[in-house]
Symmetry: C2
Subunit: 517 residues, 2 copies
């Protein structure tokens, strides 16, 4: 069989049965092979950043990689931003980048570029497959490297002739790697810190955002002078009623430092030691308080649960952690202006059980986490790498991964415009996504940042670069243009009505929430 067919069979055998794609000529044999390998589901996107972001969302929820099919260097370039987020989320992704035929590259045809350099920016593993006979094993290796641990972006560069030539047989994908066992020295250190009576903080991230692991951490902290914090932008946090309610480390360095103040020990569990998102003149980058000792209990390649178990074994039986109880805010009054607070309470009141929230709400979403802490159990996915334009693609991929669950995309207006093409794929796939656009008509976070970096920010020319009012974006029309039913809410009552209806209706729809400032 040809390379493309063997590649698809190998992917499916390795558990990779969904491919988000935006193909071109060099990928036509991959596309043609879809009819021969019906186990592979192809999901078309209109822009590569939608495909890569969807693969990230899929991986975070399915806990296995999707494939992404991209067209040469420019196609990969368009997908880089959301692959960056996937890299930071440690999501397993198998990226297949079509390239010119091996013998064609010497001619420097118009689409020729240095794909390998681009791929290196976002990938933990890159290979250029050079022989049809070896392509299936290359694909099997890509899958294994994607799984990790840690999960990563594995990029296979696939010349067109390697794909179209005959002589390949599907390979049997290897099992994924094994997580590293706990480091006994660090386990003992952490146990001593917890026994010392000194203030201890846990900073959890990565796989430690799952409910079971959080409960393990909560049990270690319970009854001790210890607090549990979560990294600022978790890949996936299982939260809500019946789960450990963890405070997220604040985005603003000074607030994060206040959260960490007074700690003698910081135990990081699949997270990185706290660091400011950006540098600011005269402010520190490293947010760990002076004199606080950082203990790296488990990293991304380690067995997180075993490390926490090991600490618990050293300490012996402890207290039972307090879990969040079911407690929703009431719906705001119908005539309330649609402030960020009213928005948050409305979402808190209506969030369905088992929802998946894709959160790229930024400034206007400030209060939503608080208002949903006691909502029925749900998953919370955030902007891990800071590359704006993740929320709508991520929601799309999460919906593909989890049929039957409702996805709520909380999306700032500025951010929505990077990858709004995701709305079309949502409609095409009848994905159960409810999009709420938080329309404040501004890059509001940059107005804040303009002040924070100390830039003399008063000028109208600078401010106009952060303003989205001229002309005003109309997301109801944008959604309609891509086949999505949409409405606009200007009061609390309108939002409650429209959001309630949207959440109860199968398939995707959009509510533009015009935020009062």
């Amino acid at each position: 069989m040809n390379g493309a067919h063997a590649l698809l069979h190998t992917l499916v055998a390795g558990g990779v049965d969904t491919c988000f794609m935006n193909p071109g000529t060099s990928e036509m044999h991959f596309v043609a092979a879809l009819d021969g390998v019906p186990e592979m589901r192809g999901v078309l996107t209109l822009f590569e950043g939608v495909a890569t972001g969807a693969a990230d969302g899929y991986a975070r929820m399915a806990e296995r990689p999707a494939a992404v099919l991209l067209h040469l260097g420019p196609g990969l370039g368009n997908g880089v931003a959301n692959l960056h987020n996937a890299r930071r989320a440690r999501s397993p992704v198998v990226t297949v980048v079509g390239d010119h035929a091996t013998y064609h590259k010497q001619f420097d045809a118009p689409l020729e570029s240095d794909i390998d350099a681009l791929a290196s920016n976002v990938s933990g593993w890159v290979r250029r497959s050079m022989k049809t006979e070896e392509l299936p094993q290359d694909a099997a290796d890509a899958i294994a490297h994607a799984y990790g641990p840690p999960g990563q972006v594995a990029t296979l560069i696939l010349p067109a002739d390697v794909s179209w030539s005959d002589g390949a047989q599907p390979a049997r994908p290897a099992r994924s790697g094994v997580a590293r066992p706990p480091d006994e020295g660090v386990v003992d250190e952490v146990a001593r810190a917890l026994r010392s009576g000194e203030p201890v903080g846990f900073l959890v991230g990565g796989r430690a955002g799952r409910a079971g692991v959080l409960e393990q951490v909560g049990a270690l902290a319970a009854g001790r002078p210890a607090k549990v914090l979560c990294e600022t932008f978790p890949a996936r946090l299982e939260r809500g009623a019946g789960r450990l309610d963890v405070e997220r480390l604040a985005y603003l360095g000074e607030r994060a430092m206040a959260q960490l103040e007074g700690l003698a020990h910081l135990v990081v569990v699949d997270a990185v030691s706290p660091v400011s998102f950006f540098a600011y003149p005269g402010k520190p980058s490293d947010l760990v308080p002076d004199g606080c000792r950082v203990h790296r209990l488990a990293g991304p390649a380690d067995d997180v649960g075993a490390a926490l178990d090991a600490v618990a074994s050293v300490l012996g039986p402890g207290a039972v952690p307090t879990l969040a109880s079911l407690e929703r805010p009431g719906l705001p009054d119908g005539d309330d202006p649609l402030t960020a607070d009213v928005l948050a309470r409305t979402i808190g009141a209506l969030l369905p059980e088992d929802a998946i929230v894709s959160d790229e709400a930024n400034t206007s979403g400030l209060f939503i986490a608080g208002a949903t802490a006691g909502a029925p159990p749900h998953d919370w996915l955030t902007l891990t790498g800071g590359a704006i334009g993740m929320g709508l693609p991520l929601a799309t991929g999460a919906a593909v991964a989890c049929p039957g669950r409702r996805v709520l995309a909380l999306e700032a207006d500025g951010s929505a415009m990077y990858t709004a093409q995701a709305l079309w794929t949502m409609a095409r796939e009848s994905a159960d996504v409810t999009v709420v656009i938080l329309a404040n008509r501004s890059y509001a976070i940059l107005n804040m940042e303009l002040r924070r970096v100390g830039a003399a920010a008063g000028g109208p020319r600078a401010r106009s670069m952060l303003d989205l009012r001229d002309p005003e974006l109309d997301f109801v029309s944008l959604a309609a243009g891509m086949g999505l039913p949409a409405t606009r809410a200007r009061t609390g009552g309108e939002l409650a009505d429209q959001l309630g209806r949207a959440l109860a209706t199968p398939g995707p729809s959009l509510v533009e929430a015009v935020i009062s400032r």
Copy 2:
């Protein structure tokens, strides 16, 4: 003054007075400096690919670079595809990519990535500016390298602290480089070929697409068994009545080979020797006929006009080339179905004098070049690098560069969706752009390519990956969502009415032409 202010003063002094931008926190001092340097015009885009494509369009028309301001690796990634096209167009572009502060990089904050690797994919010159005092000279060097010749993408990576710190003084930009004089050996070779009586082809590209240079080429060919061809995707072709009408080399290799058949000599003038856009099983990549000798008369760093003059001097006075006469097609009948042919004739009948055409029409635009060959003089800009999503940004940048001229963007529906955010910037800048969406509801070129690559293409699953009908894209709504007036045409008469009105109305608007298949 701080680095950002000195950078802006240096850019303006170097003739770079327009900056297309999509900034983030690390670029806030650059943005803040706009109020102190009013000579610099900031043009906000909602997506980085719009900024980079606009800079390309600006450079092709203004013949000087614009600056582009991007936010770290992901921002550059989003701009890569259109920088790829700019690189292939040899457009001068000064890309400024903000990065974390120098001392912040060690912490591997969420947005940290290998910007240098990304930049290398598209840039002829890359420098990371490490000291505020040296930043202005780094910027001056970037401008000089952008100008070339050849024109290129020059990328300056700018750490936030280098931008915000004090101690910089504006630098005086160097003059741009000097084009290389003609190679006398090649000049003699070409003259001998033209005297030989053997069939000679000229293949022009790059700066040889300008009317004056084309006339020089036409004079060498006139009265001899010689033909003039233009590269498939010229950066800028000056054409229409009173100019040399040159046949473009076909996109499909077999058609291009027919155009080149029988040539004993091929003289390339700021173009590359003809090569197939993609490789296809069993078809050649190199399109030069057997036995045809290729003479490289002038490359991108050479003085093209001087090289042609030198050949003319050796040959002595020759014939006068025939230039295109003013000859437009009549408007089709009003009730004609809106086929690709009717579309082409309508555009041929209505194209305004001195228009700038941004052509990303792809399959449905096949007949437009023929129908406009005798239209009043105009510029034609094409998809130089094959990276889809260029047309709308390019049109935006061309309009910013050439106030008072009408820009016509001929845009395929599939291609439009990569960078549709350009519509918002057109509206914001009141750019005189008329967008015609060629809506065939399909990645039609890929349906053709699926057959051409020999893929067993019958399958419905493969074909569905190339189909844009489910749901149907509605460009009238999409345009309205971004503040652009828009209409839909389904017959020849509707198109003529709507296009005529759009071309006559100041500012931007959009016509969705629903193509009958």
